[in-house]
């Protein structure tokens, strides 16, 4: 209980100093009276965070789009081109079974692997071009 009170006091002090709280582990500062503003008055994000978000979302969105095109191609073909999908490739293996039971499993990993590889490449690039905004100046909860 004692440490809880101490943390709370430290927190209050930090809030009084300007609302920034840096901690190494979670503590009770969820309910900072940060207030709300109209979305039209929201200042733009700093350029670096905006770029990171944009790059990250753009990559994820494109990969997801490709992935979902593959995912939905299977039921669409199954229902609208069944003669092709349920014809045999080799032995009793049909195109439908091959794409659903084998290729799709590999695809889940390939998409995630490509995403991780692209992300690591971007991180490497950011680290090579490090800027004064390297450190998050915002809320930090460990």
């Amino acid at each position: 209980m004692e440490s809880g009170i101490i943390e709370k006091n430290i927190f209050k002090e930090l809030v009084q100093k300007g609302g920034k709280h840096m901690a190494n582990e979670y503590s009770e500062y969820d309910y900072v009276a940060a207030g709300t503003i109209d979305v039209s008055e929201l200042p733009p994000l700093d350029t670096e965070t905006e770029k990171i978000m944009k790059d990250e979302f753009s990559t994820g969105f494109k990969l997801s789009l490709f992935y979902y095109a593959f995912i939905f191609a299977i039921p669409i073909l199954n229902w609208f081109a069944p003669d092709f999908m349920f014809s045999r490739m080799w032995g009793g293996m049909t195109y439908a079974w091959f794409s659903t039971g084998i290729i799709a499993m590999a695809m889940a990993f390939i998409i995630a692997y490509v995403h991780t590889a692209l992300y690591e490449k971007r991180i490497q690039k950011y680290q090579n071009n490090s800027s004064p905004l390297d450190k998050s100046e915002g809320r930090n909860i460990g």
Binding site: V32, A34, T36, A104, A108
Partner: protein
């Protein structure tokens, strides 16, 4: 008595239990809340990736996917395909930012994003709903397996499983749970690898068995003596290898694809696992590891379902196997196939694997719900955050006992329910509530507190209504898994209410900098 103790299934189960006790003993000291709720954020990608796999690949997956493939053929394989999608989407959009955010529970995310106790409370309600719907079928499965293989009553199975969980999670916390989950995953995967090897060694190659199955049409000899109507079981191979056996329309198939693929992103026990990594980079690698494991697992499960069907059609299996395949239901397909392929020892390993699957999944649900009760409700609302680390840990342990009792009661109530129905409910609720909240909360600054709460409540109510009261809806809205309707409603609720409200947290830019900053990437 001694003879039954020396049976392979008993030996394997005792070894599993002994290992759980040993790991739990080794990890029993949780000095801080971080140790207890997020394992001290100390697990690397391999351990955590295995634990995520262990959490995700539940008994419904271990026994159910092969069983569904055995029963439904291609439509069963399609089920596995839908389950395989979710982790990849989670890795792309949520894993890294969620770890950078840190904290202990899923509700922390909303509380911190909006500085809102109301948002925390709404999130707690949804966490408990999803975890309850997910825990009930796991307990049902555990009681059924105990009953099938050890002859115990349904009630004993529920009480035994809850007691093991209280001990396992209550003492070990997230540290013990993670290590046990990782180990249990490899027991299951080991069982599947041995089964696949035995099948291939026995000449049951994929394309050959599919050809044999698809060409079969007629009655399966020797099955009449086990059937309730005393007639040989009829089978049509062409129908089995085609689609439409379970999902009768194209839109039913699409709805399931959306519900199951997006449901994973909103499962609290899976989301929680990303807090246990030391960095965002490790979180992404953990997800990649889990996806690799899950992909291999689903591939094996579908193949083994076809192997089971092939063995059944050939009529060459031992009488006990044939009897189990006729009368035992879908959950008996993996054990019966294991017995046919590798005898009693492989069967013993599969039974231990089934228990491992149940314990692994349930422990994740217990930890997620324990965080919601102890950290989100007790520490925040009852103690007003005036609570020490030690008291947080004690509250966590007490909440495990409470959950054990609550889940036990829930398990006793769903004795006659369908496992698949309950799991589908959990996925649909998750896809319609937390999935929109996390995706929009991480990527859209315009999301407001009211939008988030509206999304959670509307998503929860609509998805539960469409599952429990689907018969009251027009026929075109009656879906087995209503993701096609409920997921867009969840997203739209958050978006529309946020657009109308317009009041975003003043420090939302700081939040975005926190969850998207690169500073913790290389840690």
């Amino acid at each position: 008595m001694m003879q039954s103790l020396l049976e392979p299934k008993m030996i394997m189960t005792i070894i599993l239990m002994g290992t759980i006790v040993y790991i739990t003993y080794l990890t029993k000291r949780s000095a801080t809340a971080s140790d207890y709720f997020v394992g001290g954020r100390s697990f690397g990608w391999f351990t955590n990736g295995s634990a995520i796999g262990g959490d995700y690949l539940s008994a419904a997956t271990f026994l159910g996917i092969a069983g569904l493939t055995f029963q439904l053929g291609y439509d069963g394989a399609y089920y596995a395909f839908c389950f395989s999608i979710g982790l990849t989407l989670l890795a792309i959009f949520v894993a890294g930012p969620l770890r950078r955010f840190g904290a202990y529970t899923v509700a922390d995310f909303l509380a911190y994003r909006f500085h809102s106790k109301r948002a925390r409370l709404a999130a707690v309600a949804v966490v408990l709903a999803i975890s309850g719907f997910y825990a009930a079928p796991q307990l049902l499965g555990a009681a059924q397996i105990l009953s099938m293989f050890f002859g115990t009553s349904y009630e004993f199975g529920i009480i035994f499983t809850c007691t093991v969980m209280i001990f396992y999670v209550g003492i070990g916390g997230m540290k013990g749970t993670t290590l046990n989950q990782a180990l249990e995953l490899w027991i299951r995967l080991g069982a599947f690898i041995l089964m696949v090897a035995a099948a291939i060694y026995g000449g049951l190659h994929y394309e050959k068995i599919l050809a044999a199955i698809s060409e079969f049409k007629g009655s399966i000899g020797g099955t009449a003596q086990y059937a309730t109507d005393a007639k040989d079981v009829e089978f049509d191979g062409t129908s089995w290898t085609g689609t439409g056996n379970y999902f009768p329309t194209f839109w039913q198939t699409v709805s399931m694809t959306i519900g199951l693929s997006l449901g994973t992103i909103g499962l609290p026990h899976i989301l929680l696992r990303f807090y246990t990594n030391p960095s965002a980079k490790a979180a992404r690698k953990s997800a990649l590891m889990a996806i690799a494991i899950a992909s291999v697992f689903f591939f094996f499960a579908v193949y083994l379902g076809a192997v089971g069907r092939s063995i059944f059609l050939s009529g060459a299996a031992e009488p006990q196997v044939m009897k189990d395949l006729v009368s035992g239901g879908n959950n008996m397909v993996v054990p019966s196939t294991a017995q046919a392929l590798g005898g009693e020892w492989l069967l013993g390993l599969v039974i231990a694997g089934a228990f491992a699957a149940i314990f692994s999944n349930l422990s994740g649900l217990f930890i997620a719900s324990s965080g919601a009760l102890a950290h989100d409700l007790y520490a925040t609302f009852v103690r007003k955050n005036n609570i020490s680390e030690r008291e947080r840990v004690i509250a966590g342990k007490v909440s495990i006992v409470i959950l054990g009792i609550l889940y036990g009661i829930l398990g006793l109530m769903v004795k006659t329910a369908s496992i698949g129905h309950l799991v589908a409910l959990a996925f649909t609720v998750a896809a319609s509530t937390f999935t929109p909240i996390f995706i929009l909360g991480i990527w859209w600054r315009g999301m407001t507190e009211k939008g988030a709460i509206a999304g959670l409540i509307i998503g929860l109510v609509v998805s539960m209504y469409m599952i429990f009261f689907s018969s009251t809806l027009p026929e075109f809205l009656q879906f087995k898994i209503p993701g096609l309707i409920t997921v867009p409603i969840g997203f739209l609720s958050v978006y529309i209410v946020s657009k109308l409200d317009r009041k975003v947290p003043a420090d939302v830019n700081d939040f975005m900098r926190k969850v998207h900053s690169k500073e913790s990437e290389a840690a």
